[in-house]
């Protein structure tokens, strides 16, 4: 028997509130969101000072670039572009050339996404390093508390077979159909969540910090292995930019998933800690 919405009427649903996120996770999550946003915006301000990326120990105008965001004069006015190797894409209006005070202006990233909005490398650096300190302190609180409380072992470590290709393929197929876990399965992160969060927490965010430090001539003198780890200061700068772009992509997908799998329930769980799980059971 099914009702109009196609639901099985022999089943009734029951909602249970569980405690999903600890207080430390909730606070550090939101502080991290603010820190990453301001780091991205001030980072793009810094990038705009020299919108070209290289590979190796050195790189400046005239050396082969792996990525360039630039502008050139054309008959129809200024034209912006992004170039990676041989491939070039016209990006007028957003990258290379964008409107600033109503006028088409040459700048890699547009004013609305940089901090400050106007060109000011010194101020951008000031904000970047301030929020880098906040990011590191906040991250240390999260990491140490999560190791001690067993959060990582309990919630993020994969259970047997969860990271097998077959299991991951099925989860990807489920996600693509927007079928999200219910009942007991929703009590735990699924394999895609675990994998993504592990990559972000233990690979991408540490890579951001380390590549950021590698750009500092002082840190390179103090910890020379940093330069070797990334194959040069300019490689580190490129990895810093690419990883930041991947993090922006992660946040985009993360927010999309939050919206698609029940925005209020997800938001409540990250604010108050309470997460509603729906069980479907036979009518008694």
């Amino acid at each position: 028997m099914t009702d109009k919405a196609g639901r099985d009427r022999t089943l009734q649903s029951r909602t249970v509130l569980v405690r999903r996120h600890s207080l430390v996770t909730r606070i550090t999550h939101w502080l991290n969101a603010v820190n990453l946003l301001l780091l991205l915006m001030s980072g793009l301000q810094i990038f705009n000072a020299h919108p070209e990326l290289y590979w190796g120990q050195y790189g400046a105008d005239g050396d082969p670039a792996v990525l360039t965001i630039g502008a050139r004069e054309t008959e129809s006015g200024l034209s912006g572009f992004i170039r990676a190797g041989e491939a070039e894409l016209s990006t007028t209006g957003v990258l290379g050339v964008s409107r600033s005070d109503g006028e088409p202006t040459v700048r890699a990233f547009p004013a609305w996404i940089t901090l400050p909005s106007y060109q000011d490398l010194g101020a951008g650096r000031g904000w970047h390093f301030l929020f880098a300190w906040f990011f590191v302190l906040n991250g240390l609180v999260y990491l140490s508390s999560s190791f001690l409380s067993g959060h990582f072992r309990r919630n993020l470590a994969p259970v047997r077979g969860q990271f097998s290709l077959r299991h991951l393929a099925r989860e990807i197929a489920d996600h693509a159909r927007l079928r999200f876990p219910e009942g007991d399965a929703a009590r735990h992160y699924n394999a895609l969540q675990k994998l993504t969060y592990l990559i972000v927490i233990f690979l991408m965010l540490p890579a951001m910090l380390l590549t950021g430090l590698t750009m500092s001539p002082g840190m390179d003198a103090a910890l020379p292995w940093l330069v070797d780890l990334f194959g040069g200061r300019q490689s580190a700068r490129t990895i810093h930019f690419v990883t930041a772009s991947l993090l922006a992509l992660f946040v985009f997908v993360h927010v999309a998933m939050v919206v698609l799998s029940g925005p209020w329930n997800n938001l409540r769980s990250m604010v108050t800690g309470q997460y509603a799980i729906r069980y479907r059971e036979p009518r008694s």
């Binding site: 020299h50 050195y58 050396d63 001539p217 840190m219 108050t272």
Partner: protein, 255 residues
């Protein structure tokens, strides 16, 4: 375990956040200035802790030298005095070392070249993000400061340059820089008169430029005319210790 939706802890955290936001709204300029200055000082202290006095910047081999080394900032000082010095191949140029020293001195380029020299192939990192590797030869600054003898109270070396990046009546557009004595006595801190086995070109700061290898490019003052040893730099122009520092850049440029 269940928890009330709005626990007291959450309320307290919210309150603290709100108070911070209110302080920011009331005087955003002051709060941000204090925060930014504080972060800068924290960076300097943390890096000094890790660096110690002696940690060296990486030195590269001949094959690592950049095929082209970008000329940045001033490419030729505009003053008549500098033009006259350049025309005479800097034979009449003198470097003055004065301030809080026992024996102020004036040195010609020939005097400097007679002194023990250090050659180093290092990476030059511009604050904008690019890097170039070059070979520098010059006199360790520590050697000259030891010879001059520092007076009690000496804390900074201030570098006065021949180039003016901005036209001004009060001299505030003139390039200058400052470093503290930890960097001044660092073995790789040299006054370079040669680059890539040739005399320093005008574009790269002839006849003499500073190399302070654990900091960014704007610290590497070109066209040196005078080094003053002082107890502070607050009395100079913008009071921040350098041309770019007076325009919002960090005094400590190790990051």
């Amino acid at each position: 375990m269940t928890e009330k939706p709005f626990s007291r802890r959450l309320l307290l955290a919210g309150g603290a956040l709100g108070a911070g936001a209110a302080a920011f709204a009331l005087n955003a300029d002051l709060v941000s200035r204090v925060a930014l200055t504080g972060a800068g000082k924290l960076t300097l202290s943390a890096q000094r802790l890790l660096l110690g006095r002696g940690a060296l910047a990486r030195e590269f081999g001949e094959k690592d030298i950049s095929p082209t080394f970008r000329v940045n900032g001033t490419s030729r000082p505009e003053s008549e005095d500098y033009a006259r010095l350049a025309e005479g191949n800097f034979a009449d140029w003198r470097l003055r070392i004065d301030g809080l020293v026992d024996r102020p001195m004036e040195l010609s380029l020939a005097d400097l070249k007679k002194l023990p020299a250090r050659t180093q192939i290092t990476r030059h990192d511009c604050v904008e993000g690019w890097s170039a590797i070059g070979k520098w030869t010059g006199v360790p600054l520590g050697l000259l400061l030891t010879a001059a003898g520092l007076k009690p109270g000496a804390r900074y070396a201030i570098f006065y340059c021949a180039d003016e990046l901005e036209q001004s009546f009060d001299g505030s557009g003139r390039y200058y820089e400052s470093i503290d004595l930890v960097d001044a006595f660092h073995p790789q801190t040299i006054l370079a008169y040669a680059m890539n086995n040739a005399d320093l070109t005008v574009g790269h700061g002839a006849p003499l430029r500073l190399r302070v290898e654990r900091q960014l490019g704007y610290k590497q003052a070109k066209y040196l005319m005078r080094i003053e040893i002082a107890d502070g730099f607050g009395r100079l122009w913008g009071g921040k210790g350098g041309y770019w520092e007076d325009r919002g850049y960090q005094w400590y440029a190790g990051i």
